[in-house]
Every structure is written in C-alpha cells, then in structure tokens.
C-alpha cells in the first residue's frame, strides 16, 4: 500500500547504449524527481567517461595515449579500473578489459583511434594504476570497460538515490539491476538465446543482479551477439550458457557474470569470496545454482 506521504516515481532514459530505468520512493513527487535527476547525472558521467565509442572519453584517451605516457582519468574511471584489476586477479585473467582487441577484430567494436595495433602478448597486467588517478600501459593494449562499467553506473545511481533520502530505489540498466529498500523485486530470467524455456523467477531485495549469455541468436544478433571472450586464452566462452549473478554490488555482479561463463569449478569459489550467487542455465543441464546458497 502506498502511504499518502510517499510518492513513487519511475523514469527512463537512453544511456550506456541501452535503456536505464529508475524508480524511487520519496516524501514527495518533486523530491523523487530531484533524486532521480541526480542519479541520472551519475549514469551520464559514466557514459561520458567510459564509452569506447566517444573519442573524448577517458577510455578513448587511454587507448590513444597511455602507451606513451601516464594519462589522468576521472576518479570514477580509476575506480572501475581498480575493480576490473581485482576481478582479473581473482579470476586469473578470465575477466580482462584488454579483450577489446578481439571485439574490434570481430566487428563488435569500432577500431579506436590509436597509433598502434595491440599484439597477442598484452593483458590486464599491462594496465598500471598509478598515483593521482593516472594510468599507464606497458604494452600496446586497448581496453574496453563495457563488461563492468554498467554495473558500476547502477551502483552509483542507487547510492545517490539513497544519499538523497529515497526510501526505496531501483535502477535497471538494460538488465544490470540493483534495488535498495524493503521492496522485493521479481525478475524473470529468460535465457531465450540458449533455449526457449524454461524461464525462472528470482527475487531480489537490497542487492544486485546481472546476467550474460555467450549464446548467439542468428535471428536477433543485435540483441544476442553472443560474444564473450576468455581473457587468458582468448577463446569464446559460454556459447550455450546463460548466467545470472546476484551480489551486493552491481559492479561485482556484472563482472562476475563473465567469470562464471569462463571458469568452471573456480567460479564457485570466486562467487563465495564475494558473497555472490549464480543461477546458471544450460540446455543440457537446466538450471543450477553456484556459489553462496541463496
């Protein structure tokens, strides 16, 4: 029931190449809109700084200049790079932001404006994080934060909504989702490119959820490009698998979907390390749950 002193507002804007939907409950409609405006500003900042396509973004500047010299980036970009490095370390390079070159070669990303072409030797280890939010590449690599920045943007938006005193908040950036407050969100997991059925329902409160599938749907390649590369051996992973990861932070859920797609038994230990649960679907085995028992 909605109490008379509470207002629920739901808005949606195109950002990060997808639709970002936000809901907030606040003391008044005006306050709810103000909080949502501020939360959209957080997502817009991530969009601006971390886009692979925008030549003015931090990511583009790094891909252009960081092999030559240390490049200053926005503290939020630096924070995402730190999260990415941590996940690369724990997953032995399964998660690796330097797989960008493989995505460019396969036409999934445009070739960045960069004076060099990465070779096969480069990896996440060659992205050095220096003091004062400076970044330096030690080998010719290109980075892409598409596998982690959306989750990070969701976290920032939810945290902003909380800081602005929303009593309930939910942010959904094209399937990367976080909810705050007592409300339970129901999410239907539909691994449609893996199999037409069955769907599963999960419930989420005060936490995050992200999903990935390595399955390609030839009927709908724009929505289901099905390309996830293992960072270490640079081969496609999870082509018959759908993964949904639930964790406290969305940045972790987002990044760990790729780790679960790319690692088998080790994935469970990494999930437990982050207090995370994965629901994994394959056409052969159906649904199974990995990591922390829900």
């Amino acid at each position: 029931m909605r109490s008379s002193s509470n207002a629920d507002v739901r808005r949606c804007r195109p950002l990060l190449g997808t639709f970002v939907e936000m809901g907030a409950t606040h003391t008044s409609t005006l306050e709810a809109h103000r909080a949502i405006d501020a939360a959209f500003d957080e997502v817009a900042l991530v969009h601006r700084r971390m886009s692979f396509h925008d030549p003015e973004s931090d990511v583009s500047r790094l891909n252009r200049q960081a092999l030559d010299r240390a490049v200053d980036v926005h503290p939020s970009t630096f924070e995402v790079l730190r999260w990415a490095r941590t996940i690369s370390e724990v997953s032995d390079g399964c998660f690796d932001v330097t797989v960008a070159v493989e995505l460019v070669r396969r036409g999934m990303l445009p070739r960045p404006s960069s004076p060099y072409e990465p070779n096969a030797d480069g990896s996440w280890r060659d992205v050095e994080l220096l003091d004062d939010h400076r970044v330096r590449f030690h080998r010719p690599v290109w980075i892409d934060l598409g596998g982690i920045a959306k989750g990070y943007a969701v976290d920032r938006a939810v945290e902003r909504l909380g800081a602005l005193k929303a009593t309930r908040a939910s942010v959904n950036a094209g399937g990367d989702l976080r909810v705050m407050g007592s409300a339970i969100e129901r999410v239907r997991l539909r691994p449609v490119a893996v199999s037409d059925r069955p769907a599963a329902i999960v419930e989420l409160s005060n936490g995050s959820l992200a999903s990935s599938s390595g399955a390609e749907d030839r009927r709908d390649p724009e929505r289901f490009p099905g390309l996830h590369m293992h960072g270490a051996h640079r081969r496609r992973v999870g082509s018959r698998t759908f993964v949904c990861v639930m964790a406290q932070r969305c940045v972790i859920a987002d990044a760990l979907t790729k780790v679960v797609l790319g690692t088998r038994s080790r994935g469970a230990a990494i999930l437990r390390q982050y207090g995370a649960t994965a629901h994994v679907y394959t056409a052969r085995s159906g649904w199974r749950t990995v990591g922390v028992a829900p």
């Binding site: 804007r13 449609v192 329902i201 929505r223």
Partner: protein
C-alpha cells in the same frame, strides 16, 4: 563481453514494425505535461507549434540525418519564460524490432540537446510468455508468494536492449530543427 554503447551508430536502417502478439509489457513513465515540466522547470508557456513536413522537407531530413522519416507530422512546442524563448520540446515515436517507444527531446534555444526522456515504452514480443509450454519456476530464495504473471516483473534475458533507435531519432530531430524549426 557485451556490445558497448554506440553513441552514434554508423548505419541507419529502416525500423521494422512487428505484427503479431500484442504488448507483453508496457510502462508509462511520464505524460507529455510532466516531461515538459521536468525538462523546462522555469518555463511559463508551452506554445503548440506542430510541424507538417512537405515531401521535400522529409527527403531533406533523411538526407541530412541518414534516418528514414516515417511521419509527416511532428508534435512540437515552443517553450517560453515570459517573452524569452527557452527552446523546443518535441514528442516523437520510434519503433524497434521489439519495442515501441514514445519519447521527448528537449532542445535549448541554440538547438543543443537539453534532455531526453522516455514517456512510454511497450515491448512487442509477448508470444513467449503466453505460450503455455513456458514453465516457470522459482530458483533461489523465495518468499512463498504465489506466482502470477505480474505486470511489473522485470524480464532479464542476458541481452542488452539497444537504444540505437533513440540515437537515430535524436539525429532525425536535430535535422528537423536545423532544416525546419530554425528557419
């Protein structure tokens, strides 16, 4: 990894209208009036200034924006604060493979993009959900509530719904502004 966010798509393709099952999921986020207030909080008047494009204007916009123009009429408002011109508010629709979206573009007086808001969003692929073969089951922790097809439930498919059509719509309306409204 997933496709990244294309800010300016390289190719413009004609939108395809999906014929078949009705919407499975529809959300109204904002009315036109609410969106106008959010985009121009300081405005005192929204003067209707609908545009009826000639065939030549439609062709010119298509050439300039590289996006098909499907509708000859465009819902436009001139936004004023007293007698000061603040900018334009345009209500538009885009049709994607799976979605039908009403959205609004707010432009500053100089034609720069001020704000974009989605007003209304309809998904158009309901057949999977209505198919009785679709078994549904809870996985993980549940709260024992009976399962029903909740209109508000979020569908997660492991794919990211692209906002490419909105990016194309922005390009088309910026051409409309440059070639028609500004004149």
């Amino acid at each position: 990894m997933r496709r990244r966010w294309p800010v300016l798509p390289l190719l413009s393709t004609a939108a395809v209208v999906v014929v078949g099952p009705g919407p499975a999921h529809a959300v109204q986020y904002l009315t036109v009036e609410q969106a106008q207030r959010l985009c121009f909080a300081e405005a005192t008047a929204f003067e209707p200034a609908d545009v009826k494009l000639t065939r030549e204007q439609m062709r010119a916009i298509e050439k300039d924006s590289r996006v098909d123009v499907r509708e000859a009429t465009e819902k436009v408002w001139r936004v004023l604060k007293g007698t000061t011109f603040l900018g334009w508010f345009i209500e538009d629709e885009v049709v994607g493979k799976h979605e039908f979206i009403t959205w609004a573009l707010a432009l500053n007086a100089d034609g720069a993009v001020r704000q974009i808001e989605i007003l209304d969003y309809r998904e158009t692929y309901g057949h999977e959900i209505r198919d009785p073969k679709w078994r549904e089951q809870f996985v993980g922790k549940t709260h024992g509530a009976p399962l029903k097809l909740d209109a508000d439930i979020k569908n997660i498919s492991g794919a990211t719904l692209s906002s490419r059509h909105i990016a194309e719509g922005v390009r088309r309306l910026l051409s409309l502004h440059a070639l028609v409204l500004k004149r």
